[in-house]
């Protein structure tokens, strides 16, 4: 085990950046959700890495957080995609910039 913590963190940062850029740049709502999932996964990677490199990994704190976070990710995907389907049914589109009824 020679890979230092910094490498994992940088990988997570890059993954987060890619997810964020995708969520900001793509028009399709499904891809925006996919970007969000990538960001969530980047955060998970951080948790696992910090847990592994902490001085008392026997506590399992980071691991537990990731398990819960995976469950939340699944719930988020289910609800988000259901919303996309429902919106698509009403407005015949899945493009986020067309979902703009809620504005001032």
């Amino acid at each position: 085990m020679t890979t230092p913590l910094a490498h994992y963190l940088i990988l997570a940062a890059l993954l987060f950046g890619v997810g964020l850029a995708g969520a900001l740049a793509r028009r399709n709502a499904i891809l925006v959700l996919l970007g969000l999932e990538l960001m969530l996964n980047a955060a998970n990677l951080n948790f696992i890495a910090f847990w592994r490199f902490s001085s008392h990994p026997g506590e399992l704190t980071g691991l537990m957080f990731v398990l819960f976070s995976i469950a939340i990710g699944a719930a988020e995907a289910a609800i988000g995609l259901a919303l996309v389907i429902a919106i698509h049914r009403h407005r015949r589109t899945a493009q986020v910039d067309r979902f703009d009824s809620l504005k001032g």
């Binding site: 964020l20 995708g22 998970n44 902490s54």
Partner: protein, 170 residues
């Protein structure tokens, strides 16, 4: 050394999958690439001795979320109509790059990230189960509730609404 190579392979798979998922034109390709990225991430978890989390990641993201996304793509006919990038995609990519730069900068600025980890780590499944049932039992219950709510909510939201009854003729 071997370890470093494995890490680089997994990291490349993950990042390449993520970048492809965010850039490809065909939505189905995007979803499959994302599944690849999730699988790569699971491999990295394994490398970090988090077997349980790794397999859970594989089961949930590759087995469930990816399939869900694929289904949604087919249901919204996203596979046929190709949406262009968002009109303001340059700004989005800029912001993403900025955030990444900030993060990497802060990582670089932090001291003490280069030490080696504790040699052994004890995370047997039995201990995870015990912790879930003792210390983390309330979060576990909350997650159970959340998943149930999400299940019902997703079904209700995506349910085809019944046709509205005709208003009575005046």
């Amino acid at each position: 050394m071997l370890n470093e190579i494995a890490f680089l392979l997994c990291a490349t798979l993950t990042l390449a999958g993520a970048v492809a998922a965010m850039t490809l034109r065909n939505l189905v390709h995007c979803a499959l690439c994302a599944a690849g990225a999730f699988a790569g991430l699971a491999a990295i978890y394994l490398q970090l001795d988090a077997e349980f989390a790794g397999f859970a990641q594989l089961l949930v993201y590759v087995g469930a979320v990816a399939i869900l996304i694929v289904f949604t793509i087919l249901l919204t006919r996203g596979a046929e109509i190709q949406p262009a990038a968002s009109p303001s995609w340059r700004m989005g990519v800029t912001v993403g790059a900025l955030v990444t730069a900030c993060l990497i900068g802060s990582i670089a600025a932090s001291p003490g990230l280069h030490g080696s980890p504790p040699q052994t780590v004890q995370a047997p499944v039995k201990r995870i189960g015990e912790q879930l049932m003792n210390q983390y039992v309330m979060p576990l219950e909350a997650i159970g509730l959340l998943l149930t709510a999400a299940l019902l909510g997703a079904v209700i939201i995506a349910l085809r609404e019944p046709p509205k009854p005709e208003p009575p003729a005046p």
